[in-house]
């Protein structure tokens, strides 16, 4: 093990001041991803700044129905929050679909958003990987890529973002509150996570030293009728093969509005804006749902090992929309 120092931050500004300009510094929250990566030699920080004590650990409601979720809220507490469960069931379902009970008890909202890809090459320091060591190549393109991207990938990287929670937040249009050396700023979701382009080493738009302090979930009246559906190989404790987060507003058989995001298909949670546009004003039928899915997936470019994800996403989206429509 490499020696490193450990600091416990007092507040967000001091954490940011400690980390800014020192790329060898990393924030530590629940540690469920970072500590693993340190053991594997993938992350080799010299300094760990523990932010689990400072980032707010509460879910608060502001006047207009917005929820402000502190970055330090544990995944299990977010999933169990009564307001979230009533107003944004897809968010609670997404969090509960992830990891295991023990991990959710440790994992935080900030850490969940910032977790790294599960690409097997990324996690193995004996192999090249553009994300881990820029310029070394991407063996996943021609190697094992069953679990990797079908949308938005680049020649340099075909990884997927593993978070379930982030998919629900992308559907809900959450706003991420960030503290940086120049003070606070906000980043809308989707938009926090990047597509790989030719800089796969950057998962998100955050700059070095920037700290997530909270996630704002704006009100979405029809999100009471929403669902997160995750397809996984094992009945529990497995990352998504693919997933969909859907909120649907149907009146008189017509789709008034909807929100759709996909997980397990891209380097970022994939907001399906094309599908949403097809559906707004369309009749709430399986034919229209399939048309919307296909419109979105027209952009898909499967890898040799994952073409099955295209019918899989289509089927699971159509089914989820149909189930929600039926429940209206």
């Amino acid at each position: 093990m490499r020696p490193f120092s450990y600091l416990r931050a007092q507040d967000a500004p001091s954490a940011v001041a400690t980390a800014t300009g020192r790329p060898e510094t990393m924030y530590l929250a629940g540690g469920t991803n970072l500590v693993d990566l340190m053991r594997l030699g993938v992350a080799v920080p010299d300094v760990l700044v523990d932010v689990s004590g400072i980032a707010s650990g509460t879910v608060e409601e502001t006047g207009d129905g917005t929820l402000l979720v502190g970055a330090g809220v544990r995944n299990s507490d977010l999933a169990a929050d009564p307001l979230v469960r009533r107003r944004q069931p897809l968010l609670s379902q997404a969090v509960l679909a992830g990891a295991s009970g023990q991990i959710r008890n440790m994992a935080t909202v900030g850490g969940n958003l910032m977790q790294r890809t599960r690409c097997p090459y990324f996690q193995d320091v004996t192999k090249p990987c553009n994300k881990r060591l820029p310029g070394t190549g991407c063996p996943a393109r021609t190697g094992e890529n069953r679990n990797l991207a079908i949308l938005g990938h680049s020649d340099s990287c075909v990884a997927t973002h593993p978070s379930d929670m982030a998919v629900a937040l992308a559907a809900l249009g959450a706003i991420v509150h960030v503290e940086g050396a120049d003070g606070p700023r906000t980043v809308p979701m989707p938009g926090l996570h990047r597509l790989p382009g030719d800089e796969p080493e950057r998962d998100t738009v955050l700059g070095q030293g920037e700290l997530i302090t909270a996630v704002e979930v704006p009100p979405l009246p029809f999100a009471g009728r929403s669902r997160y559906r995750k397809v996984r190989d094992r009945a529990s404790f497995a990352f998504a093969v693919v997933s969909v987060a859907v909120a649907l507003d149907v009146a008189d058989g017509i789709v008034r509005d909807c929100r759709i995001a996909f997980g397990g298909v891209a380097h970022a949670p994939w907001r399906a804006e094309t599908a949403e546009a097809v559906l707004r004003g369309a009749t709430a039928t399986e034919t229209e749902f399939a048309r919307a899915a296909e419109a979105e997936l027209a952009a898909a470019r499967p890898l040799p090992g994952n073409a099955f994800k295209i019918p899989l996403v289509r089927n699971v989206l159509v089914r989820t929309l149909a189930d929600l429509a039926e429940a209206s």
Binding site: D124, P139, E144, F237
Partner: protein, 698 residues
Amino acid sequence: MTTLTRPTPSVGSALDRVEGVEKVTGQAKYAYEYAPDDLVYAVPVQADIARGEVRSVDADAAVKLPGVIATIWYGNAPRIAPAENAELSVLQSRRVAYRGQYVAVVVADTLENAVEAARLLRVDYDVEGHDVELRADHPGMYRPEKVNPAYPADTEQGDPDEALAGAEVVVDEVYSTPAEHNNPMEPHATVAVWGDDGLTLYDSTQGATAVRDTVAPLFGLPPGNVRVVSPHVGGGFGSKGTPLSPVVLAALAAKHVGRPVKLTVTRRQMFAVIGYRTPTIQRVRLGADAEGRLKVIVHDAFEQSSRIREFAEQTTTPTRMMYAAPNRRTTHRLVRLDVPTPSWMRAPGETPGMYALESALDELAVACGIDPIELRVRNEPAADPESGLPFSSRNLVACMREGARRFGWAERDPAPGIRLRDGLLVGTGVAASTYPVYRRPSRATATALADGTFTVRIAAADIGTGARTALTQIAADALGVPTGLVRVEIGDSALPDASLAGGSMGTASWGTAVVRACEALTGALRERGGQVPPDGVEVSADTAREVGNGERYARHAFGAQFAEVAVDPGTGETRVLRLLGVFAAGRIVNPKTARSQFIGGMTMGLSMALLEESVMDREFGDYLNHDLAQYHVAACADVRDIEAVWVDEDDPHLNPMGAKGIGEIGIVGTAAAVANAVYHATGVRVRDLPIRVDRLVR
């Protein structure tokens, strides 16, 4: 001798594990928990090329770290004697035969320092091109001399080709199973201590005697100068059956530094150095008449081994004895690749072989329009089809019938792909299980103590199976005393030699020795008029003669596995709703521990059917998904309703206990039952395991 009235026999009763309290309170010591004075830590370095030679090792950065005691590689390692199993010749050559092979080891004062030093060690290689892909048409395929443990590679009866040409109904399909890795909860671990009188190994093993006899000659020691201590083992499934490189590396490192050394294999290393189940490609051809009576069975298996050791899995051996057919051919072909050496994994041979055979039987049932249970009944052999020997007992049909009754098979509509329940396609499937009955020589001593208690000693291993408990029951009954008066000591090579915990032969082999020792003790006590002198009476037994001179019978356990599955028609997600196993395995010594063995095996079979696959990375030549987040084993949520029961079986041709082995049969046939149920649910026949969404989604 105080008690002479015979208590109720203990064999057959659900005695709690005798070491249960010790285990749940953390008192039971596992190999890694031994901490002799002056202990240091060894961390191995693995090759990150798949084929070539170690050119040089640069230890400059590593040795500068605090606490680093030694870096050992081929260039400076102590020489050890050549071994028949080349996996044991660790650091004895520059050659790299597979990615992940141990090429060096670092020893330091703490685990953390050793890990960091191992990371900094620079190994330079002369790299050669590698070949890691198993293909049935690989030009390197050859017929091995024998398959494990000592069966002929090929067998043939009658004229299979002619029979196939003339058969009314023919099934001709290719099935494949992936490489699979054992993942016992306790990784392999060794604490190696050299002393004036030799070497002591605290080791996680399935056989202390075997480790002693394997390691001693490597270091030029008589077996008596090596002691292997292994009272508790957290699972093995075969991976701790044959001693492999880790234990040798620990002993070698300890010798080099002159201090006790602790070495544990990490979960990731387990995917390279402790063996795995070979991937298989199997072609099965069945020819039958319109009523499903088999005229011919042909089963060809293609499998792999490493460059340095031939490990030939006995995949088609169950096909030699399962069903009657006048014409039959079974073959094994092996190719040597730049891959890690396969090794034992629960029911080696039977597990992949019966997946293919029992899937093909189901396809034949469909082709003939016959119920799959009836099909198996029609093809029951009167005697072992290969040898003509009578079966010592064979209750496959009884298992099938009992299972059918419990599972509600009679109501089954055979039509595939028509049952929707809550939006899911539901189906049921059945498959047969079998496992041979083996027995090996062992020794045991039995001692009567002056306080009225008894001690039985044998170098057996309890790898979590309940062996210690079963032997306590067997000894108590043989002595005619309550179990509370008997103490069984196992897990130490200083105890009388015993065969290993493998081949489902532990209870049969050790139990025979224990019974003979206890009988001899009872006789000795009778001669003394039941009086025990102050320093006790000890007798010993050796079953070499008895085991060698058995009657001529075909001895096998049998079972029937039933599965009900639900498949999401949109996604192909398959979940097993119900699993029922019915077994005929002789006398069941302890129903509680036996049930755990059966359902444990069935769970592993479910896991094989739906989840487990070690993915070979063709570019780099290693098993890529080398941790438990990527290599999926069944979680609790995957196992919903699982039950194992057994039919009474009184077989006088086995051993004094009348017991057949139960450790492995539970996994045999499960995957076929699940795959057959998936076909019944969906109408889609998946012939390549595991059955994951990508095989079913359309």
